[in-house]
Amino acid sequence: MDLILLSPRDLGLAAALVCLLAALSWMLRLGIGRQLLVAAARGTVQLMLLGMILKTLFAQTSLWLIAAMTAVMLAVAGYEVMARQQRRFRGSWGYGLGTLSMFLSSFAITLLALTVVIRVEPWYQPQYLIPLLGMLLGNTMSGIAIALDNLTRNTWEQRHAIEARLMLGHEWQQAIAGIRRDALRSGLIPIINAMTTAGIVSLPGMMTGQILGGSPPLEAAKYQLLILFLIAAGSGLGSLTAIWAGSRRLFDERQRLRLDRLSARKG
């Protein structure tokens, strides 16, 4: 089966549908037409740029270029995690906590997948590394963002009950155990849902892309499974790291609850 290459005309037709939707939104006074067009334009520029960058990257297989690319991906994902927090940690913890947890989980899992599972030679071959890491970062990012937001929000809301337990001599781990469990659970729910409905309700984006790109469906399904398992492991590991370090940071060496280490509520 040959790969059908998309011409500018093909993409233009699809883009025309978006313009039609924008026109409709203008006629119905939804007030969202402009936003829609800007988002479509942004997506076009970003993906075209990425395509060009990857083209260069694939041609070179230079470890340094790849490292720079992954650093940018991680930096943006770290910022995104921080931006989604209602009450973030003050100081370097605000950015560092999510970024470091994602680095530990996503990079470790990607490395494991490349060297042990797929066994790519050399392991940093960008055609495998970049998409894998991107999938992992994107999903781990959501998991960690949800889990951390849950942790800090619930700690704030239940601060009196936590302190009541501290006053009675409970250890900090005891005092925050329930909140920690809930936060972890919430971080894992997206991937559990994704695995539950995969193939029945939704055709995952990656598999769809591979099938459209001409891969045999069963091969695409196997890759999709691999990715789902890796994402589950990555989200779990990342959320665990972030929640463990984050909840520790909420208490000091005398096991006092230190809400002054959280910033004021955003928005």
Partner: protein, 204 residues
Amino acid sequence: MPAPEIPLFQARNLRTAFIRDLALRLFAGEILGLHGDSGSGKTLLLRALADLDPNQGEVKLEGSPRESFSGPRWRRKVGLLPAESHWWEDQVGPHAEHWPMEVLAALGFSPQVLDWQTGRLSSGEKQRLALARLLANRPRVLLLDEPTANLDQGNTAAVEAIVRQYLKETGAAALWVSHDPAQLARLARRRAMMKEGRLTMEDG
């Protein structure tokens, strides 16, 4: 009865963001009465003594500096009863390991109180149960923040009697915050006043 030489509990040069160079001593078996306007720092003082807020200074229990205790162990020995109690389980029972049944009885509760839903407790019930919950830890020092504020006369008398009895039995000491001069006159041989983060001992 002359006060024993060595204080059971003492604080020196205690400082927080609000409290300045505060000194305080409690002797075995005694109640020190504490009063002062709202916002004068009484609650902040109790929180600092229980090591719940960051603070500096020398605080000792039975001669040992608090640094030789972990935070939780210190707070089991220096028990704080806040003005408003909080409950994290659905039922009363799981909030303490060994409820002092005689205290519950003296406060007018039957043993079935441990099955009660915490969401349906009145403020007076909460306040009395919180005292029993605290005494379950057998603390050496009681920091009581207006422990009878929500109680009627009968229950106030019961709480006063229970604390007195506890101090007599165990040789513990208490710092009792109250807005009621008559109550402090009844309970405390020594009194102190808090004003703008400073503590003044009152003689007589």
